[in-house]
Symmetry: C2
Subunit: 194 residues, 2 copies
DNA sequence: GTCAATTAACTATGTCCATAGTTAGATTGT
DNA sequence: ACAATCTAACTATGGACATAGTTAATTGAC
């Protein structure tokens, strides 16, 4: 159900086509919530059916048209209701921890290689998160900027601070993963090399 | 596909019935990997069909029987292959971060209440993780103890250290969440109260 | 002028996962 | 004696999600 609210959240910034949304998801939104096209398009249709969004046909080139989705009052009310509803804690389901608990079943070289890949992945994540965080702070992030244009300074301040707060959480998470990976290398050195 | 390997991992400790496994999952295993009955039983059947496990009918009481699942050599080889295969990074899909990014849409009181609930949840998680970690270190954890009985001291040391390592990662994760939640309270104080 | 890349909007299939049951024998407490 | 609880092994249904396509118009590069 969270995809629905991720979509409303994104569309509060500015109206978008399914394609725009898909691109946003594969760029910055996926840091907070990942979804592929095959989930986005059907969900947009269901949301329009449920009255949370309305689509407006907009011409595109000479013959083409595209559908721009706008959040309705119902959609916004639904979003606020969800925002104030209790959070369902996520179940643990990260294969990295499962594997780590059984590293003794694998060859140390293969383990080291996996840790290197994990480190590369999280370093890249961290770099991207810090990059996006900076565009939030200086208000140059495109979707955020569109939303801020509709708000007064006090509201804009709140919107920016909470987005930065969310990114700070993601950044802390990435740093924690990297520290854990570094501990993993140290543990391998201790157990297999010396 | 990771459920399959979580099941083999668990069964390397000792043979178990589906019911034993289900109980283990709702106790300690769910820290590393969560799964309900409705996933466990069908997956055990598929794994037996695929030759990764064999089930042995064991009498239970006067008339009843139960099926005890054992890991086959094929199953163990499959597990080792998975352990050495590259890890697929998990996509971000935690509603907590999505919500945090849009806290300005919710009433500050409702936000505070959610942060309190999150804090309670993660404090409880942390308490349980630290409790289980202690039973790993002193080797009193039942499933681990069963597995250690089959290993020599060197192998046992490795098995224990990697399990503790995995739990240390989970504990660090829980602490990071708690620190982020504390930052959330501080941010609310700054933005709404003073 | 044409060819590749991009924009747009999907669909199809299968697995994963959550919620909520069911059926039946065994054990324990009173 | 019998009720409550536990052990055991499921099933049914629907939604979430991944992977991998399809079709067609538009725009930009050479």
């Amino acid at each position: 159900m969270s995809l629905r609210y991720a979509l409303i959240a994104l569309l509060t910034g500015r109206p978008m086509t399914g394609y725009d949304i898909s691109k946003s998801f594969s760029r910055s939104v996926s840091h907070v919530w990942h979804a592929p096209d095959s989930q986005i398009y059907p969900e947009l249709n269901r949301m329009e059916r449920d009255g949370l969004l309305i689509s407006v046909e907009v011409p595109w080139g000479k013959k083409g048209t595209k559908k721009e989705y706008h959040v309705t009052d119902t959609g916004l009310a639904d979003f606020r209701a969800w925002m104030e509803s209790p959070l369902v804690p996520q179940r643990q389901r990260d294969p990295a921890y499962l594997k780590a608990a059984y590293f003794d079943f694998a060859d140390p070289k293969a383990v080291r290689e996996q840790l290197r890949q994990q480190r590369t992945y999280w370093e890249e994540q961290l770099r991207m998160l810090e990059g996006t965080r900076a565009t939030l702070v200086d208000r140059s992030h495109p979707t955020l900027a569109a939303r801020l244009a509709k708000l007064d300074e006090r509201e804009a301040e709140l919107a920016v601070r909470f987005k930065v707060y969310a990114y700070d959480g993601l950044i802390a998470h990435a740093r924690t993963e990297l520290a854990w990976i570094a501990d993993g290398f140290a543990l391998l050195d201790e157990l297999y090399d010396s």
